[in-house]
């Protein structure tokens, strides 16, 4: 299993050598959204706290980095970490309020959406940081300013982020912390009865997740050279972040990555395909149909479904244990 993982990493490291510019752009997006999905996966997948406001953390991270660079000349590489710390602080506030007041399920979803929307409206009206027009980042081509001439640099940047997040989640799975999170998702009341400090672990998961999502903010801002409050804090981005781990399998190490390898190219290709005919929005219909299909037919996601299939074929009959996670997101 480890060898297979190393082989995959080696293949990913060598990949830019054989890709054309268009394919490279798509793969960068695949890796970036896999990273965002992996960050969300910690709180949304493992801990089972469905946050639908993760765009807020992307926004806070991106804005903090860009504003610090513009006002103080601080390099985005340091600003990115400061932005992530701020995002984690926001995650801490949202998580503390939500978990302390015992909001579960739909109520937690709504709380996260409400906070993201509040951020969006505040930034929209805050002229100092560009207001509704947003911020534009001038292209310098200077790596110290997080600006690259070559798309391959962005590729390795996205890959590094994804490997970082995946390594963190891999470690989590093997630690008590990760096991607590899964236990909280499966039965929170039982966890509390056993003396697990559920508030603390959920809060830590939320802060870790929002920290990593905040790092992505700087990538987003500098890769696209602009920050628009309605795009970066908006609900559609939050939905994009959630879709990939759900399709791939929330609460699994490979879920967000597989989900991104399925969804991102599908989205890009259908966007290019239908966009030529002036059919904008068609790729989102594809996402919608896929989401409905996943919920109805493979609610556990692609990765658990595939592993169960393989196991069945190996043993010739269905093991009972493999079904326990079915139906949970």
């Amino acid at each position: 299993m480890i060898w297979l993982g190393l082989a995959a990493v080696a293949a990913l490291l060598a990949l830019p050598a054989v890709l054309g510019p268009y394919a490279l752009t798509i793969v960068i997006n695949i890796l970036f959204f896999a990273y965002l999905g992996q960050a969300w996966n910690i709180v949304g997948g493992y801990a089972g706290q469905l946050s639908a406001g993760h765009a807020a953390f992307v926004g806070v991270g991106g804005y903090a980095t860009a504003v610090l660079a513009a006002e103080t000349g601080l390099t985005p590489w340091i600003g990115m970490v400061i932005g992530a710390v701020l995002a984690a602080a926001l995650g801490g506030v949202i998580g503390y309020l939500g978990f302390r007041f015992g909001l579960r399920g739909f109520y937690f979803v709504l709380l996260t959406v409400a906070f993201a929307e509040v951020c969006r409206i505040v930034v929209n009206n805050w002229e100092r940081v560009g207001g509704a027009v947003g911020l534009y980042i001038t292209f310098t081509g200077d790596p110290r300013q997080m600006s690259f001439q070559d798309d391959r640099a962005w590729y390795y940047f996205a890959l590094a982020l994804l490997l970082l997040a995946t390594a963190i989640v891999w470690t989590l799975e093997r630690r008590r912390f990760g096991i607590y999170l899964t236990a909280i998702r499966e039965d929170e009341t039982a966890c509390e009865a056993l003396g697990v400090d559920t508030l603390r672990y959920k809060l830590l998961a939320m802060m870790l997740s929002s920290f990593l999502t905040g790092l992505a903010g700087a990538f987003y801002a500098y890769r696209y050279s602009s920050l628009q409050p309605n795009a970066i804090f908006g609900v559609p981005l939050s939905v994009e972040i959630i879709l990939r781990p759900i399709v791939g399998g929330a609460g699994t190490l490979l879920g967000p990555i597989v989900g991104s390898f399925i969804l991102t190219p599908l989205g890009e290709l259908s966007r290019a395909w239908f966009g030529q005919g002036g059919w904008h929005g068609a790729h989102l219909i594809v996402y919608g149909i896929l989401l409905v299909a996943v919920v109805l037919f493979v609610p556990q996601g692609a990765v658990p479904w595939a592993t169960e299939r393989l196991r069945r074929r190996g043993r010739g009959n269905a093991p009972e244990g493999a079904r326990t996670r079915q139906g949970r997101a």
Binding site: G48, L50, L97, F101, L103, R104, G105, F106, Y107, V109, L110, L111, V113, A114, F115, E117, V118, I121, V122, N124, N125, A132, V235, P236, V239, I242, I246, W279, H280, G281, A282, L284, I285, Y287, G288, I289, L290, L291, V292, V295, L296, P299, G327, R328, A329
Partner: protein, 271 residues
């Protein structure tokens, strides 16, 4: 707006299903009203009946075909399912009608009545009056008819309702349909007042969740009063702060209510 929330409240109250596609259903109601007005020359104030009927069919179909299959699954799965439906509906509207905001012309919308020193916008008054009438009719339907009673019974205790011989699946489909019909009517009625585009759906969905939570889940009266309350709070916010900050008021209100009174102002049950 209140009527939208009433429809949502009905769907949520009866089935515990979070309808994320609510706003997009309303947008479809608006586009239907627009089609009726431009192609057939039917005024939206009459056309809303057709829109409500069409949305009833759509709502019942979504319930029968999709939600029914996972009614016992965890809440999260339903949220995701409806999110998928919302994506499909919103972007289908985008494909069919394009992104530019449009508006339905009704001869009534231009008219104004002068009542002494006050002047009243006839279109808004009519929209408000029909919304109140429809809410009242819905109330009568739920509390005075057999079908309405079985909807409330299924909401209260689906198993019990099943035992005494209620066709719970049919009742669910009707309830979802009626909820969707409410938004369809609401869409058609607001179409002459408000310019609309497919992107409106999302903000309507969020705004109506806002209202339903503030008013209290599953309470029709609460949803109606919540709608008025949110509108007043937003208008006051627009007067005392900047107009662009008015949504901030309702979202702050939502966060406070979620934290301190999650059952809403008029809700009876705690979540």
């Amino acid at each position: 707006m209140s009527l939208t929330a009433v429809g949502l409240s009905l769907i949520f109250g009866v089935m515990r299903v979070v309808n994320f596609a609510h706003g997009d259903m309303m947008v479809w109601g608006m586009y239907l009203a627009w089609l009726l007005a431009t192609r057939l020359g039917i005024d939206p104030y009459l056309g809303f009946v057709v829109c409500a009927a069409a949305l009833f069919v759509l709502g019942a179909a979504v319930q029968r075909g999709l939600v029914d299959r996972i009614v016992d699954a965890p809440h999260e799965m339903q949220i995701l399912l409806m999110l998928g439906v919302a994506l499909i509906l919103e972007n289908a509207a985008l494909l069919a009608f394009g992104p530019e905001p449009i508006r339905v012309r009704s001869p009534l919308a231009a008219a104004t009545w002068y009542v002494g020193p006050l002047y009243v916008d006839v279109a808004r008054l009519l929209t408000f009056a029909v919304a109140v009438a429809l809410t009242a009719a819905l109330y009568v339907f739920l509390f005075r008819t057999d079908l309405g009673r079985s909807i409330r019974a299924a909401a209260d205790n689906p198993y019990g309702a099943l035992v005494i011989g209620t066709d719970v699946r049919r009742v669910y489909a009707v309830a979802f349909g009626v909820g969707a019909a409410c938004v369809g009517a609401a869409g058609a009625l607001t179409a002459p007042i408000l310019p609309f585009s497919p992107a409106l759906g999302l903000s309507v969905s969020i705004a109506s969740f806002n209202i339903v939570i503030i008013g209290g889940m599953g309470s029709l009266l609460g949803a109606f009063i919540g709608g008025l309350l949110v509108s007043v709070a937003e208008s006051l916010g627009a007067v005392f702060l900047k107009p662009s900050l008015k949504e901030l008021v309702s979202f702050s209100l939502l966060i406070l209510i979620l934290l301190f009174r999650p059952a809403g102002l008029f809700g009876k049950r705690a979540p």
